[in-house]
């Protein structure tokens, strides 16, 4: 079975569109200055990204261990079942997030003037 030409056009169009948007976002993104922790859309903590700290984020569903060092932050450990948040690695640019879905916890990097996105959906 061969591809139809439309398949390749469709795939290529979506790919190019997404790449352009991604490229623009990458160009615009700059180093953040604050680490903001949200639980269920509500701001829980706010730290400076220039500090070096180790902090347990205690939310109603569990605990995530947040590390901030060298202008980046990551989650060292969590007691959620999948630990996907730990695997998401280090973030440091404005707009980047680590999401722990089971705990409804989001850690977002923000710049001086707050987030470039509207922080809460509701």
């Amino acid at each position: 079975m061969k591809y139809k030409k439309n398949d390749l056009i469709l795939g290529a169009l979506i790919l190019v569109a997404a790449l352009i948007i991604w490229g623009i976002m990458m160009m615009l993104s700059s180093k953040g200055s604050e680490v903001v922790v949200y639980e269920d859309g509500k701001e829980l903590y706010r730290y400076s990204l220039s500090d070096n700290i180790r902090q347990e984020i205690i939310s109603s569903a569990g605990v995530n261990v947040l590390i901030i060092e060298n202008g980046e932050c990551y989650l060292e450990d969590a007691d959620c079942p999948d630990k996907l948040c730990v695997k998401q690695g280090k973030i440091g640019k404005i707009g980047e997030s680590i999401v722990c879905l089971p705990h409804k916890v989001v850690i977002t990097i923000e710049g001086e003037g707050g987030s470039e996105y509207d922080a809460t959906a509701q």
């Binding site: 591809y3 139809k4 469709l10 879905l101 959906a121």
Partner: protein, 156 residues
């Protein structure tokens, strides 16, 4: 149909074993979608829905949890609707359908994730997820259409 359901379950299991993760929430290979696309083209949309629902519920109980079932159902429903629409235009082959399925699966999952955590910031990862959806959808669709061609030959 039972064969395809079994295939989908095995693919779900394989997917749960592969630590495929590029630091983006909601990203998956979508291997089980191969079986769903095949069901869609071999039988029809009703059969494909049955296989899809059973696949998600059974694999959820076997390899995941209740929470995961609801999460993947949302992605599956949206991607299935998108695939049906694309298929009904008759302008695309299995690969095109699979690409659309992959893209919409990822879009749906990140929207649900944003809704669950009530934070829209993670929509930041949308472009990456769309790109991933195109690539995985293309690979899955290609494999699925190859397998289909073989199966048709055997049945004949």
């Amino acid at each position: 149909m039972g064969l395809l359901l079994a295939t989908a379950l095995i693919l779900s299991y394989i997917e749960s074993l592969i630590p495929f993760f590029f630091g983006v929430p909601g990203m998956k290979l979508g291997l089980p979608n191969m079986a769903i696309v095949m069901a869609l083209y071999m039988f029809g949309w009703k059969e494909a829905i049955v296989i899809n629902v059973f696949r998600i519920v059974i694999s959820g109980f076997l390899f995941g949890n209740m929470y995961g079932i609801l999460f993947s159902l949302s992605g599956a429903v949206i991607s299935f609707i998108a695939m049906l629409i694309i298929k009904s235009t008759d302008r695309f082959s299995m690969t095109g359908t699979s690409i659309i399925g992959g893209v919409f699966h990822n879009i749906a999952q990140i929207l649900v994730a944003a809704f669950v955590v009530k934070t829209s910031g993670i929509i930041y990862y949308m472009p990456v997820l769309i790109i991933a959806g195109v690539i995985t959808g293309f690979i899955n669709g290609t494999i699925a259409s190859q397998v289909m061609a073989h199966i048709r030959r055997i049945i004949k």
